[in-house]
């Protein structure tokens, strides 16, 4: 049950403009969906792509792609650009007989001779729409097992292979392949993959178009991916009898969990690099060992996830969840997060220190703790400052150096060059003089105003119950 869309790669919200031919291609109206358009465009040899416009339910067949001369891609809400894979994929499937890319150099670096020329190397081929012999691009009209080739412009070398890699070899798999972005669209048994943006023949929870729940998983088209922390890339298959299957892809080699990604006493981001020894959930429930299948059966076998360090019963994040987690030793609670592990700060390395609250700091550090450059105190964009060199002469607001004109108790700060963040504290730490304690402050301040709550009768609660 393959879809005609399987032969296309989609660019969402994108329009392909031809700089020489304003409006192009024939407009097809009342297209129920993009698959209809693909059915029209697929068999046409001079259709290489199409626009699908969701609001007008129409599609525009195009005789060019983004690799054609005088074209450019434009952001266009409501319009998706579908391009035939053969024209835009940079690797080959099988022997590359269908390759229609634009590589025009041989594996030896020789420039290819145009297929319309008979010189310096004469030959029998005539370019047609069928054989796709175009310009001087590498092609495989005779099914050469070494893949696409061309006649060369060097009279001493009649023809040579272009060395275009197979899609399987073009991208290898690190770790469990969560980052695999290659173009293999068949499973290890040779079944073609179902598109991620289709719900047939298999219904599935990954809906890349409707809800951007997996924005960074690249679930476009029907390429092998690993969006759910499986042991390697996989896809739903177009075989109604087999829902999903792994893909056979070469490994990039033994995993190198770069040491700087690994954290031991806190977790950064989602904690995929956490390698500490916390082994209870936030609620204090001991974790189940990863190499055990009791009380909870699971697929996260340590030997299948060698780069995820699934040792003992330590909290880990092998599947890209929100935070480190584990199977719990409590039969009634399968998994739980280990949020008791503190988060690492995002701060960049501090390069200087300040005394007290830094009001006398006169150094030249000029970036925030996130590494964002400071705005000059004399500038008015992107933030109009309340403190300027003239309005606060005491603070010596020079250039864009970190200062503390308002005596902020958390240290020197600056207006930032990020329009979204007006001010932030700087890449500085307090020198080792002990901060003023707040616990025995000079005087206990009292309140002037406060928040109220109507301690309403329980009618609401009882009704709720």
């Amino acid at each position: 049950q393959r879809s005609p869309l399987n032969d296309f790669e989609v660019l969402r919200g994108t329009e392909l403009q031809h700089l020489l031919h304003g409006v192009a291609g024939s407009l097809q109206k009342d297209m129920v969906d993009a698959e209809e358009c693909a059915k029209r465009c697929g068999p046409l040899l001079d259709c290489r792509a199409f626009h699908y416009n969701m609001s007008s339910l129409s599609c525009q067949l195009l005789p060019w792609t983004q690799n054609s001369p005088h074209t450019r891609l434009l952001h266009s809400v409501g319009c998706d650009l579908f391009q035939k894979k053969d024209y835009v994929r940079t690797c080959i499937m099988d022997k590359g007989v269908r390759y229609r890319g634009t590589v025009a150099k041989t594996v030896g670096g020789l420039l290819c001779q145009s297929w319309t020329h008979r010189f310096p190397n004469d030959h029998k081929y005539k370019p047609t729409l069928q054989n796709g012999l175009e310009e001087n691009f590498c092609r495989n009209p005779d099914g050469d097992p070494r893949g696409p080739w061309c006649y060369t412009t060097d009279p001493t070398v009649r023809f040579q292979s272009c060395g275009i890699k197979s899609c399987r070899e073009a991208a290898c798999v690190w770790c469990n392949g969560e980052d695999y972005r290659g173009s293999v669209d068949h499973t290890e048994s040779g079944r073609e993959c179902q598109r991620w943006d289709l719900q047939h023949p298999h219904v599935h929870p990954f809906k890349p178009v409707l809800s951007p729940r997996f924005p960074d998983k690249d679930l476009n088209n029907n390429y092998c991916r690993n969006p759910d922390g499986s042991e390697r890339p996989w896809c739903y298959t177009t075989d109604p009898k087999l829902k999903r299957e792994f893909c056979s892809l070469p490994s990039c080699g033994s995993e190198v969990q770069t040491h700087q990604d690994a954290t031991f006493h806190c977790f950064r981001g989602k904690g995929e690099g956490y390698r500490g020894v916390a082994n209870t959930t936030s609620a204090g429930v001991p974790c189940q060992r990863w190499d055990s299948q009791s009380p909870h059966q699971h697929n996260f076998r340590p030997e299948k996830y060698t780069c995820k360090d699934l040792r003992e019963n330590f909290c880990r994040n092998p599947d890209g969840s929100e935070a480190p987690w584990c199977f719990t030793s409590r039969p009634g609670m399968r998994v739980a997060f280990c949020y008791q592990i503190p988060r690492c700060t995002d701060d960049v390395q501090t390069v200087d220190c300040y005394h007290g609250s830094g009001e006398q700091y006169r150094g030249s550090v000029n970036k925030t703790r996130m590494g964002v450059p400071c705005q000059r105190w004399s500038a008015e964009i992107p933030h109009k400052p309340r403190f300027t060199p003239t309005s606060a002469p005491h603070a010596q607001l020079k250039e864009n150096f970190c200062r503390n004109p308002d005596g902020d108790s958390h240290g020197p700060w600056c207006y930032t060059t990020d329009p979204g963040i007006s001010f932030d504290y700087c890449a500085l730490h307090r020198c080792n003089d002990p901060p003023v304690s707040i616990l025995d402050p000079p005087d206990q301040v009292q309140f002037e105003k406060c928040g109220k709550r109507v301690n309403r009768p329980d009618q609401w609660l009882s009704k709720l119950r």
Binding site: S211, P212, R213, P215, R268, G269, K270, T280, T281, S282, A283, G284, E322, A323, A336, F337, Y339, Q340, I341, P342, R343, T345, D346, D347, R369, M370, H383, R386, D406, D408, S409, H410, G411, G420, I421, S422, F423, Y425, P435, S437, I438, L439, P441, Q444, V445, Q446, F447, K449, C450, G451, K452, R453, V454, N455, R456, W460, L461, L464, R465
Partner: protein, 227 residues
């Protein structure tokens, strides 16, 4: 909230992620500003598309159309000073205050809550089976001094943190409650004195619970809201 009971806390908001799940709580300190815990977000520049605050409900997952329910998109996130474990969320628009949605006021700068003050935590988080999941639970706790707290926690409690007495029965905050309020009743008013942050174990019997001390960062909060 472990060991709590259903209650009402009109300044406690529920944070929902782009999957529509409740994942943390927050406190409404201004009509367009919510204070919550840094622990709730993967980074200070995490993309916020699809993140919302839900207010005016006692349910963790209220049905659309529930009377009084308000949900507002989170527009911006500002991380507090590095030792604050705080985040301020600016909402896309101000919320409507009413019987079910109210502001809680901030303490004066550097105010220290006297020991024995009665305070309350609220949240929709893990109850460890002790209470009704899915609705807002509250629990009352007493403040103790950092000095007393550091006896049990062996000096680990910092001045930017505050403690409540450990009870023999397990009572306290847990996963899903982070970012929620520790509100203390002082001079006839509720004041946001602490923020719920992860402890090594939830509601550990006999162990004081540690919260973030808001009064140390009130100057930062005012500054962000003003700037």
């Amino acid at each position: 909230i472990v060991g709590g009971h259903p209650g009402n806390s009109p300044w406690t908001v529920s944070l929902h992620n782009r999957q529509g799940q409740h994942f943390c709580s927050g406190s409404l300190v201004k009509e367009q500003w919510v204070l919550t815990a840094r622990q709730c977000f993967s980074s200070c520049r995490a993309p916020l598309t699809g993140y919302e605050v839900w207010l005016g409900t006692l349910l963790q997952n209220p049905q659309p159309g529930e009377p009084g329910l308000q949900h507002v998109q989170v527009a911006q996130m500002f991380c507090g000073p590095s030792d604050s474990q705080l985040v301020l969320l600016k909402l896309e628009r101000p919320v409507t205050l009413n019987q079910r949605v109210a502001l809680i006021c901030l303490p004066p700068e550097r105010y220290v809550v006297p020991p024995a003050t009665m305070c309350e935590i609220a949240g929709w988080g893990e109850t460890n089976g002790t209470r009704h999941d899915r609705i807002l639970n509250v629990a009352l706790l007493n403040v103790i001094s950092n000095q007393e707290c550091n006896i049990k926690h062996r000096g680990r409690v910092r001045e930017t943190e505050m403690c409540t007495r450990g009870l023999m029965a397990p009572v306290g905050a847990c996963e899903g409650d982070y970012g929620g309020p520790l509100a203390c009743f002082t001079h006839d008013c509720w004041v946001l004195e602490g923020i719920i942050i992860p402890n090594r174990v939830c509601a550990r019997p006999g162990w004081p619970a540690i919260f973030l001390r808001v009064s140390v960062f009130v100057d930062w909060i005012h500054k962000v809201i003003q700037l």
